[in-house]
């Protein structure tokens, strides 16, 4: 993709002024970006750039402009994945203006970035964000003096509360006006590397213009950390917080899937079926069970993803997520993960999809991939429904809860073992030093939480829809052809028979194999599909399974269900988040092989021990 295809060449020319936003992590850069662009942001795929960047076109004082939100980075010369992305972007795509977002409280060190941008030769406006916090910490900043010294406009703002924001934007507009006829510029990294920036450079830039108090006030953060980072109580508190978030997603999010289901059912019954009944029956079948099923599956995730990201945005913006990572890191580093991986793993118990999307908080790609590899082993709520059905049909009521609990334990253990194994390979070896900033606690604003949830949702819909609809159509073909065939006579059923040499050793009959093929779309489909497969009402299916499937085989079926891919939406998300079809295939193969091996070990072991 590195040659100059026509599409790429066009991107080099800015038809409207392009403004890039850069800054360190935790400076409120994205919050400012959201404030500027509102809900108009979308995800742009820039050729040659390995991660997707958000961009938005908005009118600024009557002028059409394009904003690009670059990943938060610590250093323009840095070596991490994100830092390379920013460097690649600034070298490949010309910009008309750079907005540098700086945390005003930490200007003593963050002034490095404005100085570096100056060396890159890029026109810039500096926004000292979190002016309210700096004031609280007793820091005074003379923006006039700084501006004169750096030769670029400097503004004290608060992206959160909007303070100083109108003036800062007016200044951006004025800069664009002044540069109206000047061509956009590429960053000159040669010049930056040729300059040696020392501590004295930073100090002399700030001297006189920024005054820190002699004795910094004891902050709320220090007081809170005494409890929240406590060596003994820290972890239990963290688990309590996670359980609470999990509880919210569980009690509100899961029923919401039913509400959406009710809406999509209504549309199907009242609109689609009456209209389609005018056409041939195969068309009705195809549109409803092929396409509409896919659309409805995607739709059922909408409230869940919104809610999850509302919660995650609140936890993340509060500053607690980095502390959670600190607390869990003690244990997670032993298997090649870090604390944040565990947070996402727990989130996966609600639903794997948002948990996969949540791995974006990790900066290191190998670590992120490893985490994405193990999240699908989390026992999500849809699988829970399958297990409850099978357990109720096959096991005596007294054993039910124990059997179910065993799946939760296996889910954790399976994920940890997989992480321990794969972290040894080079692709998943986290090579980034574990150095994590612990930002002060902040109260998240509703506006920010809302924008975040909404943005993530749009991204999910954008990326997953086609994939899932195509997948549902494929399964529809498998299970509806040849025409007039039912159950094991369909192509899917034949596939189930064909797979018997593989599935028989783990105790799974062709009927259940077909259910697993259905389950590839979503685990919600498994139970419903069983009545189609057995061609009997759902009440009878439970009875049929109870008489034909032994407890050992049923447990093996559940094990397989637990460890093979949870649903097509998860597969689509893995591909979207890793931006690699190869990794998606790898993750699929790993989960299938893993599921088979575990089920095989269990089933054969059970047979050896004399269970039938």
């Amino acid at each position: 993709m590195s040659h100059c295809s026509p599409a790429e060449a066009n991107l080099d020319l800015n038809d409207v002024p392009r403004i890039a936003m850069i800054g360190q992590p935790n400076t409120g850069k994205s919050m400012l970006y959201n404030r500027i662009t509102g809900a108009s942001a979308y995800v742009g795929n820039w050729p040659g750039i390995t991660v997707s960047l958000s961009n938005a076109r908005i009118r600024l004082n009557g002028r059409e402009t394009e904003f690009v939100d670059l990943p938060g980075i610590y250093d323009l010369e840095g070596f991490s994945e994100d830092e390379t992305v920013v460097a690649d972007f600034l070298k490949s795509y010309p910009v008309d203006l750079v907005i540098i977002v700086v945390n005003a409280s930490q200007i003593d060190r963050q002034i490095l970035m404005p100085l570096q941008v100056k060396q890159l030769g890029l026109p810039a406006v500096i926004m000292l964000n979190m002016a309210d916090e700096a004031r609280k910490n007793g820091i005074t900043i003379d923006t006039e003096a700084l501006s004169a010294r750096l030769g670029v406009p400097v503004h004290l703002i608060s992206a959160k509360y909007g303070e100083g924001y109108p003036e800062a934007i007016a200044s951006v507009d004025a800069m664009l006006e002044r540069r109206a006829s000047a061509p956009p510029v590429y960053a000159d990294y040669e010049a930056l590397r040729a300059t040696l920036m020392t501590e004295e450079t930073l100090a002399s830039t700030l001297s006189g213009a920024v005054v820190y108090p002699e004795t910094p006030p004891v902050t709320m953060t220090q007081k809170l950390d005494r409890f929240l980072l406590h060596p003994v109580f820290g972890l239990p508190l963290f688990f309590a917080v996670m359980l609470f978030v999990f509880y919210i997603v569980w009690t509100i999010g899961l029923p919401s899937q039913d509400w959406v289901g009710a809406i999509t059912d209504w549309i199907q019954n009242r609109i689609l079926e009456p209209v389609l009944s005018l056409g041939p029956s195969w068309l009705q079948n195809f549109v409803i069970n092929g396409i509409w099923l896919g659309v409805a599956t995607v739709a059922s995730f909408v409230p869940l993803i919104m809610l999850f990201f509302f919660c995650m945005a609140a936890v993340e913006d509060s500053g607690y997520l980095s502390r959670a990572a600190y607390l869990m890191d003690t244990w997670m580093r032993r298997i090649g993960l870090d604390g944040r991986s565990f947070v996402m793993q727990m989130m996966g118990f609600g639903c794997n999809v948002p948990a996969l999307m949540g791995t974006r908080v990790m900066r290191s790609q190998p670590l992120r991939l490893l985490t994405m590899l193990i999240i699908p082993f989390s026992l999500c709520s849809a699988r829970l429904a399958v297990f409850v059905f099978i357990i109720a049909a096959v096991f005596p009521p007294a054993q039910g809860p124990l059997v179910l609990f065993s799946f939760y334990v296996i889910s954790f253990v399976a994920a940890f073992i997989a992480a321990a194994i794969f972290s040894r390979s080079k692709q998943f070896k986290n090579t980034e030093p574990f150095v994590l900033e612990l930002p002060p606690y902040r109260v998240p604003t509703l506006r920010q939480v809302w924008l975040r949830g909404f943005g993530e949702l749009r991204e999910f819909l954008h990326r997953a829809t086609n994939f899932i609809v195509i997948g549902t159509i494929a399964v529809w073909f498998l299970t509806n052809f040849p025409t007039d065939a039912t159950g094991l006579d369909t192509w899917g059923g034949q596939l189930g028979e064909l797979l018997q040499p593989v599935m028989a050793p783990i105790g799974i009959n062709p009927y259940l194999t077909l259910a697993l093929i259905f389950g590839f779309i979503a685990k919600e489909v498994v139970i419903g599909s069983l009545s189609t497969i057995y061609a009997m009402s759902s009440g009878l299916v439970a009875h049929q399974i109870a008489t034909t499937v032994s407890p050992a085989a049923a447990y093996s079926f559940c094990l397989f269900c637990l460890l093979y891919t949870p649903c097509l939406t998860t597969v689509a998300t893995v591909r979207a988040e890793s931006r690699s079809t190869m990794f998606m295939v790898f993750s699929l193969v790993v989960s299938l092989v893993y599921a088979w091996l575990v089920a095989f070990a269990f089933y054969q072991g059970a047979l050896l021990l004399g269970f039938k």
Binding site: D75, Q106, D108, T221, L327, T330, T431, E432, P433, V435
Partner: protein
């Protein structure tokens, strides 16, 4: 073995950041590359942890967990012990 840094270390004036106790502070002298090449020192510089800056130990995690240190004026950083080992400070 005429490395001045190591010589000073032998005299006991320069210690690794890892060895500081909560409440103690030091001035960063050098960040060794270790397995991270320049990655660690560049990252730490951007976080305000570089030569001439004061760093103080805030808390040490139990069971070999990461350390929390305060760098410069207003930045708290969690850092793994293996990484903190590479940061050499002159105790103050």
């Amino acid at each position: 073995m005429n490395d001045p840094v190591i010589d000073t270390a032998l005299e006991g004036r320069i210690v690794s950041l890892e060895s500081l106790q909560p409440g103690e502070s030091g001035i960063v002298e050098i960040v060794e590359a270790g397995q991270f090449e320049n990655g660690l020192s560049v990252r730490l510089r951007a976080l305000g942890l570089s030569s001439t800056h004061q760093v103080s130990m805030v808390r040490r995690g139990w069971f070999g967990g990461p350390l929390v240190v305060r760098a410069g004026k207003a930045t708290e950083i969690a850092i793994r012990r293996t990484e903190a080992e590479l940061v050499k400070v002159r105790k103050v």
